[in-house]
């Protein structure tokens, strides 16, 4: 009886078979180069993020310094500045959080990835609909000012602006749809993984 139980609890033969798998030597120099390349890419991305935010904020400051010639209402420019600063800070924080998640326990990591994927999906959805709403508002505004003769620009300028923005909205919506499909598939796989981890 004891011998049988010992055999059941004994992993040594399985361990021997498992550990006998042939392995190749690591190319550590190659790996180190790749690690360096990725670290540099992350830094460049972070700097680019800050640079774009800096340019956007600089433009807002420049607009505010025009005083009464500001092309947009001042509260709107300030709100825009807050959005840019907030979004940049949030994006950097998210990147840092994602980097730290590498050593989470598996179930915590899956939960984290699930939440992160849902957030990304939500951002794309909201951005796409917001972009469409802004474009619609712009188009209605153009129709209004042209109809009542209050337009400072000629009709073809408005047409170009609306056409170009329509193109941007269309490209973003297509990209959002494509990414959304991929993210939804990822969510389903993560949910399946969560179930597997719980059931095991």
């Amino acid at each position: 009886m004891k011998a049988e139980s010992d055999k059941r609890d004994d992993w040594s033969d399985l361990q021997a078979a498992w550990q006998a798998q042939p392995t190749t030597a690591p190319d550590l120099a190659g790996l180190q180069r790749e690690v360096g390349r990725r670290v540099r890419r992350m830094r460049v991305l972070g700097v680019a993020n800050l640079l774009v935010a800096g340019i956007a904020l600089g433009n807002c400051v420049r607009a505010l310094r025009l005083h009464d010639r500001v092309p947009l209402p001042v509260p709107l420019v300030i709100a825009l500045m807050l959005v840019v600063a907030g979004y940049t800070g949030w994006a950097l924080w998210q990147r840092r959080r994602q980097w730290r998640a590498v050593a989470l326990a598996p179930h915590a990591l899956v939960a984290f990835e699930h939440a992160r994927t849902q957030t990304t999906l939500r951002i794309w959805r909201v951005s796409t609909w917001l972009g469409l709403a802004v474009w619609l508002a712009l188009s209605l505004n153009a129709l209004y000012v042209m109809q009542y003769g209050a337009a400072r620009q000629p009709p073809y300028t408005w047409a170009i602006v609306i056409g170009l923005n329509a193109l941007v909205v269309l490209v973003c919506a297509t990209l959002g749809w494509f990414l959304g499909r991929r993210l939804r598939r990822r969510l389903l796989r993560l949910q399946a993984m969560q179930r597997e981890l719980q059931e095991s």
């Binding site: 049988e4 055999k7 059941r8 609890d9 992993w11 399985l14 361990q15 078979a17 498992w18 550990q19 006998a20 798998q21 042939p22 392995t23 190749t24 030597a25 690591p26 550590l28 790996l31 180190q32 790749e34 690690v35 990725r38 670290v39 590498v102 050593a103 989470l104 326990a105 598996p106 179930h107 915590a108 990591l109 899956v110 990835e113 990822r186 796989r189 993560l190 993984m193 597997e196 981890l197 719980q198 059931e199 095991s200």
Partner: protein, 160 residues
């Protein structure tokens, strides 16, 4: 070579076997192995000595594998890289290879939570270390191991 490189060299076979337990296609396995090694290399400075280093490396490797599984589910073909041992009896070798391949196949077929526990047990981790690596209580590890061991024995056709 820094300390992370030295540790990685030491635990390389562990990473190779973890990668193989999650990916069958050699190209995919190599990609996964590279991702695991890079993640482990970059995460190593954050190891504070709470628990063993190999448990930490195993955790990072398994996490990377799960991320890869979430990005692309496993539907690859069973083609393992074979590096034949030039020494030894060919018949014995063929028998051992067959048993090893069957074991690998059975391990890959386990649900992910059980697979992680089994792979670490096969790597000779103690139940405590498995718990550290996977963030599980020791009794949960014991339960999973007991279930998985039965499945493994049955699938491999061993008599208990």
């Amino acid at each position: 070579m820094d300390a992370a490189g030295v540790a990685l060299r030491e635990h390389w076979p562990l990473l190779v076997r973890i990668a193989r337990s999650h990916a069958r296609d050699p190209a995919r396995c190599d990609d996964l192995l590279q991702e695991m090694a890079i993640a482990a290399w970059r995460a190593m400075p954050r190891w504070r000595g709470d628990g063993s280093l190999r448990a930490f490396i195993a955790r990072v490797a398994h996490n990377r594998a799960m991320d890869a599984l979430a990005a692309r589910p496993g539907k690859d073909v069973a083609l393992d890289i074979e590096i034949p041992d030039p020494h030894g009896d060919p018949l014995e070798r063929a028998d051992a290879d067959q048993r090893r391949d069957r074991l690998l196949g059975v391990v890959r077929g386990l649900p992910v939570g059980q697979r992680q526990v089994v792979v670490l047990a096969l790597e000779d981790f103690s139940q405590r270390e498995i718990g550290q690596a996977l963030g599980l209580e020791e009794n949960a590890v014991a339960q999973r191991l007991s279930r998985a061991r039965r499945q493994l024995r049955e699938a491999l056709g061993d008599r208990e």
